[in-house]
């Protein structure tokens, strides 16, 4: 079966960002590399970082898009499907394979609402029909041996726990082997110091976090063979599937918006501080003007205009995915435009100080050009501030997505996102009996991402700015 890669704009940008960040830590300035190494010595950073890595992995897998080739037809050129899929879609295809009729609770066997069902004897009654997923997968699964007395949920859950523990142990050992090889010590010694907590890296925290993550993942994978682990929503879609698909949107909002703010804040901030005079006045005027416009209103106005643009120019977008992609990028752009001023002000102040340093005046007397001084002598000394503000702003942008989607000016309504899930479920708490799982799931996934991003940001600040120049 053939396929054709599809690179959406957001995909390309996110992969470029990952590459750039990797390069910065691998070959970047010394202060960045030193900070990076001391960062991982903090247990909190290790735990939060591993969780973030998990989210980033899911998001990146969901950013590799392709289109499948349609079955060949005589006399026609090669045709590709209109639907754009990602690698993640293939990996978790099982979750969305069975569509139910309506709500069903997490790990339920039957529908949550009454539906007319046909009994085997042909009678039509109102009852709670069995879920299609359970019906299809349970058959032929009656286990033999000692297992059969255990309830199926417990059996699958225990198997998940076992697999998760083994997987985490294997991954830790693999990483330890690599570290031992690199450090030139025997694996045995490394493991002993690690276990006693005497190694410079917090091995125990890392191992424990990895175990929790693997156990949760494996349990969900095991349960999802027979159950909808987090239930289904109003139209019977799997909630776990939607939550996982929402990861990419949340990450994109956080990362791409930061990407938009960076050139504005860094370029204008350094220019204002370095040149002073009318340049400084002009830049200060620009950011005071932008700041004085209520951010939400500016975003709302811009998004409404963009919706009008999409409506009047349908020819520009060849698929639903590219339309959603355009909307996401535009949202990041406008959110970024309204939120670069804080960092810009900080960088301007810091550049004002750096400008007076001896090495800068020395460079100036030697006839080094302004651009070169800014690039070689000012920017590297601001990198830690930029990095700190990047990670600190990230979580705010993830949270903003939910609020904007609730206001109706967020990402494309057809795009999987936590904000859209919350928006769709807004009336479910007031129905009787209450349906809590779509809301709880969306809030939960978002909370874990934002919490680990916040904790990670605190550690980054500690590692890169030990004197606490910036609160």
């Amino acid at each position: 079966m053939g396929w054709q890669p599809v690179v959406l704009w957001a995909d390309g940008l996110i992969w470029l960002t990952v590459g750039a960040v990797g390069l910065l830590f691998w070959r970047g300035a010394d202060n960045i590399r030193a900070g990076w190494q001391s960062l991982w010595r903090q247990p909190v950073a290790m735990a939060a970082g591993l969780i973030l890595l998990c989210y980033v992995g899911i998001g990146l897998l969901d950013s590799l898009h392709f289109r499948l080739r349609l079955p060949a037809q005589a006399g026609m050129s090669v045709q590709y499907s209109v639907e754009v899929n990602s690698v993640l879609d293939v990996l978790i295809a099982r979750l969305s394979a069975y569509q139910e009729q309506s709500y069903s609770a997490p790990l339920a066997k039957h529908l949550f609402v009454k539906m007319p069902t046909t009994l085997p004897d042909g009678h039509l009654v109102l009852g709670y029909p069995e879920l299609t997923l359970y019906q299809a997968q349970r058959l032929g699964r009656d286990e033999q041996g000692a297992w059969r007395h255990w309830p199926e949920k417990v059996r699958l859950g225990l198997r998940g726990v076992l697999m998760g523990v083994l997987l985490a142990a294997a991954m830790t050992l693999l990483f330890a082997g690599w570290q031992a090889h690199r450090g030139g010590v025997s694996l045995r010694d490394l493991l002993r110091t690690a276990w006693q907590g005497k190694h410079q890296l917090p091995w125990r925290t890392g191992w424990a976090t990895l175990t929790v993550l693997c156990v949760l993942g494996a349990m969900m994978a095991e349960w999802s063979t027979v159950y909808h682990v987090l239930g289904t929503d109003k139209i019977g879609q799997d909630v776990l599937y939607q939550s996982i698909k929402g990861v990419r949107t949340g990450l994109m909002m956080g990362t791409l918006t930061t990407l938009v703010t960076l050139p504005l804040a860094v370029g204008l901030g350094i220019a204002a501080g370095y040149f002073g005079g009318w340049v400084d006045d002009a830049i200060q005027y620009i950011y005071t003007t932008l700041n004085s416009i209520p951010g939400v209103l500016l975003i709302v106005a811009a998004v409404l205009l963009m919706q009008g643009f999409i409506e009047t120019h349908p020819a520009l977008f060849d698929s639903a995915a590219s339309r959603a992609d355009f909307r996401l990028l535009f949202l990041c752009l406008i959110l970024g435009v309204t939120s670069w001023t804080g960092l810009c002000r900080v960088l301007r102040g810091e550049t004002l100080k750096l400008r007076e340093q001896d090495y800068v005046s020395a460079a100036r007397t030697l006839g080094v050009s302004d651009w070169r001084i800014m690039g070689r002598h000012v920017l590297p000394n601001l990198l830690h501030l930029i990095l700190i503000s990047m990670v600190m702003d990230f979580s705010g942008f993830v949270l903003a997505e939910a609020v904007l989607s609730y206001l109706g000016v967020g990402v494309d309504p057809a795009m999987a996102s936590w904000g859209n899930m919350i928006n769709a479920a807004r009336l479910e708490l007031s129905r009787e009996p209450v349906v809590w799982w779509p809301l709880a799931s969306a809030f939960g996934w978002m909370f874990v991402l934002v919490l680990s991003a916040n904790l990670f940001a605190d550690s980054v600040r500690e590692a890169f700015d030990p004197l606490g120049q910036r609160r």
Partner: protein
């Protein structure tokens, strides 16, 4: 100092002009009056005469910046920019697209907005300062460590969650207060109680963390060591010296957002059905009523600039050493 404050006030004029130019180009050049008419009359099956009629009816028929058909300075006055944007400087906001007076709506809706925003602001300030002082008092103990973790957790919860959870438990399950709605007058307290508590909750993590770091910075300063060396006990050091000096950045920061309280809150008001300015904006967004959004942008900018000006004023008042050139 007077001349400084007056100059700062004059500084607001070019900024407001910039805001007006920006919103004007967004609303009239990117999205032309023809587009607006099409949106209101329906995208399809709309004729050019119908569009022209709609534009005349809603005063959108003039050219953007320069009216070549009129003589003298009327060439500048009889334009969209003058009539739609510049007149806002005289606080004349005209009519919304459904024909109601915007200024009147603003006046009647500011009250409900304030009845939530003001108590939230005052209560939030008290709670945050109190909690921050408690954490600073117990610094480097298990209480402090627990407090820091709690603030990060509170910060990481979506504001939507606080509202939805508050409505579900307090109003829906326990039936302590109505879920949403508003009545004017003294009876309004049980309608505004829950929104206030929820809004304070949503801000407590951020605020406490920030104030704690301000107090911690103060506590490392020389005068605190002097006070301790004089033999003052810890609570006196904390409540007299640290609190007083730490309040300067906190209160001057608070002054900046004071005028913006008039704007109300989009989320809280729409969830709780409060007929304030926040829900006014939401309704306007849903009806695509750009006249209202434009007016609110202008008012928001004016209030922000007033806040900046008040901050300057507060600095000179709070710290006599501050002198401006």
């Amino acid at each position: 100092m007077m001349t400084y404050l007056i100059r700062r006030l004059a500084y607001a004029v070019p900024i407001l002009l910039g805001v007006n130019l920006l919103t004007f180009s967004l609303f009239f050049m990117v999205n032309t009056p023809d587009d607006m008419a099409r949106m209101h009359l329906g995208i399809k099956h709309v004729t050019q005469p119908a569009i022209e009629a709609w534009k005349v009816q809603h005063d959108y028929a003039q050219p953007l910046f320069y009216n070549a058909r009129e003589p003298g300075w009327r060439a500048l006055r009889d334009t969209l920019f003058f009539n739609q944007s510049v007149r806002m400087f005289a606080l004349d906001f005209g009519e919304s697209d459904d024909g109601r007076n915007i200024g009147e709506a603003l006046r009647s809706r500011a009250g409900p907005s304030l009845s939530i925003a003001l108590p939230t602001f005052v209560l939030g300030l008290w709670v945050n300062i109190g909690l921050a002082l408690m954490l600073v008092w117990a610094r480097a103990s298990w209480l402090d460590r627990f407090g820091i973790i709690a603030t990060v957790v509170l910060m990481s919860v979506s504001s939507l969650f606080y509202i939805i959870a508050g409505q579900y438990w307090v109003a829906h399950l326990w039936r302590l207060v109505p879920i949403s709605g508003f009545v004017p007058g003294a009876d309004s307290w049980h309608f505004v109680l829950l929104p206030i508590v929820v809004s304070v909750m949503a801000g407590v993590g951020n605020g406490t963390r920030w104030y704690r770091s301000i107090f911690l910075e103060e506590i490392g300063k020389d005068y605190v060591r002097t006070a301790r060396a004089k033999g003052l006990n810890e609570s006196r050091v904390l409540f007299r010296h640290v609190l007083q000096n730490g309040l300067i950045p906190i209160l001057t920061g608070a002054v900046a957002v004071l005028p913006l309280l008039f704007m109300g809150s989009l989320l809280t008001e729409s969830f709780f059905g409060i007929p304030g300015l926040g829900s006014y904006v939401i309704d306007a967004i849903q009806a695509q009523d750009f006249a209202v959004v434009r007016a609110m942008v202008f008012i928001g900018s004016v209030l922000y600039l007033i806040g900046l000006w008040l901050t300057d004023l507060a600095y000179t008042w709070a710290d006599p050493r501050v002198r401006f050139s």
